[in-house]
């Protein structure tokens, strides 16, 4: 506890072998420079962000981040519970031995998590770290934000009198999740998630369950949250730069319209609990195209891509995101053909 009067500088005092003082001085200089710059720039910043596209960008950026934060906190609390209180052996035991069956079970388990996609990423990271087969965990990642009760209720509210559309969404999303899980059993064998497993091992080394819990929660929150902010910035930029009218002009063009709304779902990064309301606004599009918007959105979007990239690595995301997009479009078209 020595030197706590200067938090951030005290390590240098008791660790003479490390030139930490340099780091602290640099940090102090940086903070001062940034503060001065900010004070000088503030009136100008206020002016720039008071009108036009910068203002819209800022509002959407902060809105996406703020909206996601409670869900993210909820998600990391669950992921930390997994890390601290559920042993890998117990996790593996609850899943069916058969790998394909475990994928299907994980899809069904997605119904139980009342959150949106931001909550699912850290939880999936901990599931894989805890020894759950990646295919099953990834199925959960895709299913949870798409088929939980809140999403179903909000979809039914957005499309009253169209239970068949709600059912189509549910089935197409579940089918997408399970298909990706089964595909991953075949193509994902070479993908290892060393980072996640190391992180889980690290968490288990922290002494005491409570400490493990807070350590895992704080780490996952910073990690997933940091990438969430990157995703929010990307989504806000797309919303401001690309006028929706460009994609909406494709309304009458069959499969092209389906792809256009699927792509729009990726770019807009709307929460899975809100996307049904946005889908209702595409009045020029076929039900299948709107279904594609709702099936793709919770599975692949800019903020998810950023978070997945952070949690699972770039090599994974480069393969997983486009593949999921294709599978989601496929199932949306299949389900849409019954509408």
């Amino acid at each position: 506890m020595d030197g706590t009067a200067h938090p951030g500088t005290d390590r240098s005092a008791d660790d003479p072998t490390q030139p930490r003082a340099d780091g602290d001085v640099r940090l102090m200089v940086l903070v001062v420079v940034v503060l001065v710059a900010v004070v000088l720039a503030r009136p100008r910043l206020a002016e720039v962000f008071s009108t036009g596209q910068p203002r819209e960008w800022m509002t959407v950026f902060i809105a996406v981040a703020v909206q996601a934060m409670p869900f993210l906190v909820f998600g990391v609390l669950l992921s930390a519970l997994l890390a601290a209180f559920v042993s890998p052996a117990a996790l593996v035991r609850v899943l069916p031995k058969n790998r394909a069956a475990s994928v299907v079970a994980a899809g069904g388990a997605g119904m139980a998590l009342p959150g949106c996609e931001c909550a699912a990423v850290p939880i999936t990271g901990r599931l894989i770290g805890g020894g759950v087969p990646a295919a099953a965990a990834l199925t959960f990642l895709l299913a949870a934000p798409a088929i939980n009760p809140i999403v179903i209720v909000s979809t039914a509210t957005a499309f009253p009198g169209q239970p068949e559309l709600v059912l189509a969404r549910f089935l197409a999303s579940l089918a997408t999740a399970i298909t990706m899980g089964l595909l991953w059993l075949r193509i994902g064998a070479s993908h290892t998630f060393d980072q996640l497993i190391e992180r889980a091992q690290h968490s288990r080394k922290v002494e005491g369950k409570w400490h493990t819990f807070t350590d895992a929660a704080a780490h996952d929150l910073l990690h997933a949250g940091g990438w969430l902010v990157v995703g929010a910035a990307a989504a806000a930029s797309i919303q401001v730069i690309v006028p929706r009218s460009i994609l909406e002009a494709l309304g009458g063009y069959g499969l092209l319209a389906v792809l256009a709304l699927g792509l729009l779902a990726v770019l807009l990064s709307v929460c899975s609990e809100a996307d049904a309301f946005v889908a209702t606004s595409f009045t020029a599009f076929s039900p299948t195209a709107r279904l594609a918007f709702m099936v793709v959105g919770p599975a692949v979007d800019l903020k998810l891509i950023a978070m997945q990239h952070g949690t699972f690595g770039i090599r994974f995301t480069r393969l997983f995101a486009p593949l999921t997009f294709g599978v989601a479009i496929l199932w949306a078209v299949v389900a849409g053909s019954f509408l």
Partner: protein
Amino acid sequence: MNGPSALTKRAIVLAVLAAGMGRLALTDAYLAYVKSTMRIPLLASAVVLILLALASAAAADRSREDDHDEDHDDAAGDEHEHAHFPRIGLGLVVPVICIALVPIFPLGADAVTGRAPNAIRADRSVAARDGADGSRSGSGAGTDALAAGGTVTVLDFVDRAINDPANPFSEPVTLVGFVSKDSAITDGFVLSRFIMSCCAADAQPLLVHVRSDGPAPPIDSWVEVTGVQIPAPDDMADEDRVLTQNIVLEATEVLRIDQPTDPYETY
């Protein structure tokens, strides 16, 4: 790379984030971004963040006491017993800095262009008015009570104009919204309100053509307009009905007002 330990950094970032969430949710500022129902979840997450920040700070103290010989740097994948600060986590302070530095604005007139206006579906609104969703329009009453007039939501007004033109509001109505531009409208201005289901990213504009003789209020100013609904002709095509110029309020009174506490309408 040297500097405060990973745990100290964690505590600082988490505390800054908690402060940002708290600053938004303890005032009405959060309403510029999300729905009013998000206040409790935001405050709850701010409390959790504070607790996690305290736990990280306590852990930082413990690790200082426990050992003095470990390298606390945070190279990814470098396995050691110590906490690790994911550098991307610094990103979390960016929105908080933005909130602190930049004026807090809801979506405004410039965001209206580029988003599909008045995109509300007939079946939803009719079902909602039949009582499936009592939360709408204050009273949640049936068609007759709504048709009487008074202060109505822009959603109700636009909904009736598009989906129920045979039953216009029989009495003068009062709408609250901000002024946006539409070059097609020369005999008044556009009253606009965003309707949101979760956050500003999914907000969609509702636009009403206000006919008024007086000078149009400045773009982005908030107004309270009282007037009479001018229904579209019965034989107007559906795709023309949704056009702003055909959703008409003949104004009798236009008042400049302050931005309402909740700048958005919700479903």
